[in-house]
Amino acid sequence: MSGLGFLAMAYTAIWVAFFFYLMSLGRRARRLEQEIETLRAAKER
């Protein structure tokens, strides 16, 4: 593989990792939203 190939792989790895980490934070946000909704519903009952 050429130097350009290694360069592309390195930066692809960086962006893929950041993308998946942001996705995991998004999943945590959605889980927290659901928990808040559950608590709200329990409080209203």
């Binding site: 050429s2 290694f6 360069l7 790895a13 960086i14 934070l25 945590r28």
Partner: protein
């Protein structure tokens, strides 16, 4: 239908708007410099461009782990939940950055050294650093909020940071083969073009802002998690 701002409460102008916007602009500018503006380094060629991010990923991770140690000490002294949340957030983002250091380093090493990996002192100490903070996060998860386990983890967070000065001086102390990345004794090699210096500065700013943004998001989710756990406990008691 609820939006993300429902989780975070009110929209915060700095961490929800300004910080991600600044991070995006800085990142695009840094990428433009690294891929378009800066010339190839004379000795290493195009593959040297990996270092514009590799070096700052490492420094941001080190900064994050120093912050873990400082906030862990604060937590041990005062029992502050805020300090503990920031320690965890910095450890998690620091571990992500260290993982990327360990991925991008070998991708540079293969065309330059001819091998992906060698047990050079600096590389070995980086793996040790990664393992320490991975253990720190695993310990916290296994403890499941137990106060004693959180205190043990805090001690590990403080002790772990001692690896960083060793890692930095490893090249000189044990004569490793890891290069002095930015500076070279060869008058023609290294960062000789002014745009290369700008590439280094801009990628540092971009990754610094990204680190701060990710930590602020992570710490905020942990704070909401804490509040929810507290409310759930209160409603169980009633």
């Amino acid at each position: 239908m609820s939006s993300r701002s429902d989780v975070a409460g009110r929209l915060r102008p700095w961490s929800d708007v300004a910080l991600p916007a600044l991070t995006g602009v800085a990142m695009l500018t840094a990428i433009l410099f690294v891929f378009v503006v800066v010339p190839d380094e004379k000795v290493q060629g195009v593959v040297q461009r990996i270092f514009y991010f590799h070096v700052h990923l490492a420094w941001m991770a080190f900064g994050g782990f120093v912050f873990v140690a400082a906030t862990s000490a604060w937590y041990l002294r005062t029992g502050s939940r805020v300090a503990d949340r920031y320690a965890e957030a910095n450890a998690e983002v620091g571990l992500l950055f260290t993982t990327l250091v360990l991925i991008t380093g070998p991708l540079w090493a293969r065309p330059i050294w001819g091998v992906y990996w060698t047990w050079d002192p600096r590389l070995t100490m980086t793996v040790v650093l990664w393992a320490i903070y991975a253990a720190y996060l695993m310990l916290r998860r296994l403890g499941n909020g137990d106060e004693t386990i959180l205190r043990y983890a805090a001690v590990l967070g403080i002790v772990g940071v001692l690896d960083i000065p060793l890692l930095i001086i490893a090249v000189r102390l044990w004569r490793g083969i890891h290069p002095a990345v930015m500076l070279s004794d060869d008058p023609e090699a290294g960062l000789r073009d002014p745009t290369m210096i700008w590439g280094v500065i801009l990628s540092g700013i971009a990754l610094g802002l990204l680190f701060a943004w990710l930590v602020s998001l992570r710490a905020r989710f942990a704070a909401i998690d804490d509040q929810l756990a507290l409310r759930a406990l209160e409603s169980e008691r009633r």
